[in-house]
Symmetry: C2
Subunit: 129 residues, 2 copies
DNA sequence: TATAAACCTTCCCATCATAGTAAGGTCCAG
DNA sequence: CTGGACCTTACTATGATGGGAAGGTTTATA
């Protein structure tokens, strides 16, 4: 398969496939005589893996580690699980942060009449220490 | 006040104050004869406002709009409230998205033994379509 | 067989908010 | 008057992604 075909099949853009190769998230692939990258079925799976790890919010360094584990048939599943649970912790922290913002804003908005007049507790609150 | 002092007082770095001025989030400030930016008390409030709007997750274009409303004494509080509530909607959507990721990961991690062996439903799941 | 379309390659640029650095000018205290 | 702390602009980088240009390859069609 050429890069366009594997991009289609995996859902990762050709642009990003080259980028992932360049930064070492996926290994360098063999080339045709003309220099075209040549992919097989396993590569479709690998790229799909990368895409889905990204969709779960893993950082690029984590994805790189995960791809290494995915390719290593002697991996310990404990390592994978550890990464996953650490990521859950970060996700929950982010959720807490966003919930805090949302709560604050909802409270401020609730205090604001929201009419034609200029008085606005939202603006008032935002410039005080 | 010079930029360092107002940075200290507002909690916005001098670097970012110059940047905000350049991209028009805050108005251009007057200069001393030597070209130094000269700030007053109101500018401390304005910068604090920008910082706190950012901390609530508003985008830069939104902050720009909010600063405009903050400076406009004939604003309608309804406009501010509308922006705030739209942002709440986006925050809640983001929270839903992250919650989905977290839930998926927790489920996968729960299914993974997490021991010395290579079998791992997390990795298996991530390369399937 | 010639050519055009549809690929591929590398390289460069842009995003966005933020930080760092360098080179040079200014202000103040000793 | 000099040293240090401040200021100025301008350039660089980040990280994941997209866009485009210039040029080579493959394939289908006239």
């Amino acid at each position: 398969m050429n890069i366009g075909e594997v991009a289609q099949a995996s859902g990762v853009s050709a642009k990003m496939i080259r980028h992932y190769e360049e930064i070492g998230v996926i290994p360098k692939i063999s080339r045709s005589m003309a220099g075209y990258r040549q992919y097989g079925e396993a590569d479709v799976h690998m790229l799909r893996f990368v895409r889905q790890a990204r969709e779960l919010g893993f950082s690029m360094p984590e994805v790189k580690t995960l791809v290494g584990l995915w390719r290593n048939k002697r991996r310990k599943s404990g390592e994978v699980k550890k990464l996953a649970l650490e990521h859950v912790v970060r996700l929950e922290a982010k959720i807490q942060q966003l919930s805090g913002m949302s709560k604050t804003l909802k409270h401020l908005a609730h205090c604001c009449k929201g009419d034609e007049r200029p008085e606005c507790p939202i603006l008032d609150k935002l410039d005080s220490p």
